[in-house]
């Protein structure tokens, strides 16, 4: 029942909620980002980061520092924190925490399958996979030739198995199919996560519904924009939209028939929460759109911390940390390539 979580939440979740709030206080602030943006070299970045929570992870790195190393070590911190929480969690929090990583699993599966299609080495691909989305038989993905084999050999034992019912075909895998597969899997995952949160009820359902609805709408807009001008039919496009969220169902009808970005913009401007995002967009720019979506997402995730006694804080923390790692990657790349004027193009401040 919504409103009475305070009576029983702390039995199983109190300690971990306090832990995750402690982690949140370690996120980089605007002043940290300002310092990082002033850096001239990657060594400066490493020095500034060693004064923050990332210190122990970066201090032993040898001198020729690469951006990928920085990002890898920062991701390692996220993985350590996640595992610390997962080992101490009981049901249903442990299932909730596992759900958070299924998105990464889907990305890893698609990465390996695409890489194998382009004849890359499996070991090299495995190193590029996101550590949160690893599962045991992931290396066997390189063997599969079509989706049915993919499912039968590897994915049936993973948590992604129920998401495959909509996309098993016997066609051979190619770039287009893989993208469609990725989006179909992600759609099934979002809907499953949404249903799970609804089942949990109370404050978790309320807060997670809002965050997941925004995610579903954002993906709908991105799918629409990315499939403009490709051979994806309108029906196929409609099948990739999730069946919840602010845009469901009427927004999806409008998005399905859009043929260019201005039509997307005019259909989105009818929805007040997205109006502000799209009004920042001048004609034809999609990088600004990405940043605008990230800013809106960060705003909603920060709001999840305003309430106590629900699981939304765990999801929000993981997402905010990923955003921080994206910021660090962008700053490191700008510094490494000497393009510091473009640093503020894509950094989203969290605090």
């Amino acid at each position: 029942m919504y409103g009475f979580e305070a009576l029983t939440f702390n039995i199983h979740g109190g300690y971990l909620e306090a832990i995750v709030r402690g982690y949140r206080s370690g996120l980089l602030t605007a002043s940290d980002y300002n310092n990082l943006c002033q850096c001239e070299t990657l060594e400066d970045i490493k020095m500034h980061l060693s004064a923050t929570e990332y210190g122990p992870y970066l201090q032993n790195e040898p001198s020729p520092l690469y951006t990928t190393t920085i990002v890898e070590k920062c991701t390692l911190k996220l993985v350590d924190e996640y595992k610390h929480m997962l080992t101490q969690a009981t049901e249903p929090l442990s299932t909730f925490l596992e759900y958070i990583t299924y998105g990464h699993m889907i990305d890893n599966v698609v990465l390996i399958v695409t890489g194998t299609l382009h004849e890359r080495d499996v070991q090299e691909l495995l190193e590029k996979c996101h550590p949160l989305g690893m599962f045991d038989s992931i290396a066997t993905l390189a063997v599969a030739q079509n989706m049915r084999e993919l499912y039968r050999l590897v994915l049936v034992d993973t948590p992604l198995a129920p998401y495959f019912s909509e996309c098993i075909t016997s066609e051979d895998l190619d770039d287009m199919n893989i993208e469609i597969m990725r989006n179909t899997l992600y759609k099934a995952y979002l809907e499953d996560f949404y249903r799970f949160c609804q089942k949990l009820g109370g404050a978790t359902a309320e807060i997670m519904s809002d965050i997941l609805a925004f995610e579903a709408d954002r993906r709908a807009v991105n799918i629409t924009i990315n499939s403009i001008g490709t051979e994806l039919t309108r029906d196929d496009r409609r099948k990739l939209y999730s069946n919840f969220g602010l845009l469901y169902p009427y927004g999806h009808e409008e998005l399905a028939v859009c043929e260019d970005i201005d039509q997307v913009r005019s259909s989105m401007e009818k929805y007040p929460p997205y109006h502000s995002i799209f009004s920042k967009l001048s004609y034809g720019e999609s990088q600004v759109l990405d940043k605008a979506f990230y800013e809106e997402e960060v705003k909603r995730l920060c709001l999840a911390f305003e309430q106590q006694f629900h699981y939304g804080v765990f999801f929000a923390y993981m997402r905010l940390k990923e955003q921080e790692i994206r910021n660090l990657m962008w700053i490191s790349e700008c510094v490494a390539q000497n393009q510091k004027s473009r640093v503020h193009d894509s950094v989203v401040f969290i605090f």
Partner: protein, 176 residues
């Protein structure tokens, strides 16, 4: 006697007043301790988790635990006071109106104290949990949230006062 000899009200007045008094005493201590324990675990689990990142909060935030504990102490005190009110009366007078009144007064006093302390303990516990988490992020918030806790713990005190007043006039009929 109220009612006819086989109605529910007749059954109620034939329950010994000592039963009611004893149940009242049990509720006063039992439910108070339930409230205190509930509050302490709500505060304690958040406090331990928050102290991992910010160890400085532990000593100050024990105040929240102490406020919850006070609620249990109120229950003990009232239970002891109530049990001193129990006197034996000759068996001819057990069902006198005077006796019934004394028994019911002790029962009511126990319920008042027990349930007031239950909700007080819960209230202080939930506020204490938020207090620990906020203090870990920003130490200037501690004193302000403590004021809310103080108001919350006054609820238990109200219950104790009313309970003691109730039980003060629980006089059993004199012997003879």
């Amino acid at each position: 006697m109220v009612g006819s000899s086989s109605s529910w009200s007749a059954a109620l007045v034939h329950i010994s007043p000592y039963t009611f008094a004893a149940i009242g005493i049990a509720i006063s201590i039992g439910v108070s301790v339930l409230g205190a324990a509930w509050g302490i675990y709500i505060t304690g689990s958040s406090l331990i988790g928050a102290a991992v990142k910010a160890p400085r909060i532990t000593s100050k935030n024990l105040i929240s635990v102490i406020f919850c504990e006070a609620v249990a102490i109120y229950g003990v005190i009232v239970a002891i006071i109530l049990q001193t009110k129990l006197e034996s009366v000759p068996s001819s007078k057990i069902y006198d109106p005077e006796s019934l009144r004394a028994g019911y007064a002790i029962f009511a006093s126990g319920i008042i104290v027990g349930f007031a302390n239950l909700v007080c303990g819960l209230c202080v516990g939930i506020i204490g949990s938020s207090c620990a988490l906020s203090d870990a992020q920003n130490s200037s918030l501690f004193v302000k949230i403590l004021v809310i806790e103080i108001f919350g713990s006054a609820l238990g005190l109200f219950g104790v006062i009313v309970g003691i007043i109730m039980s003060a006039q629980a006089t059993w009929p004199s012997k003879g």
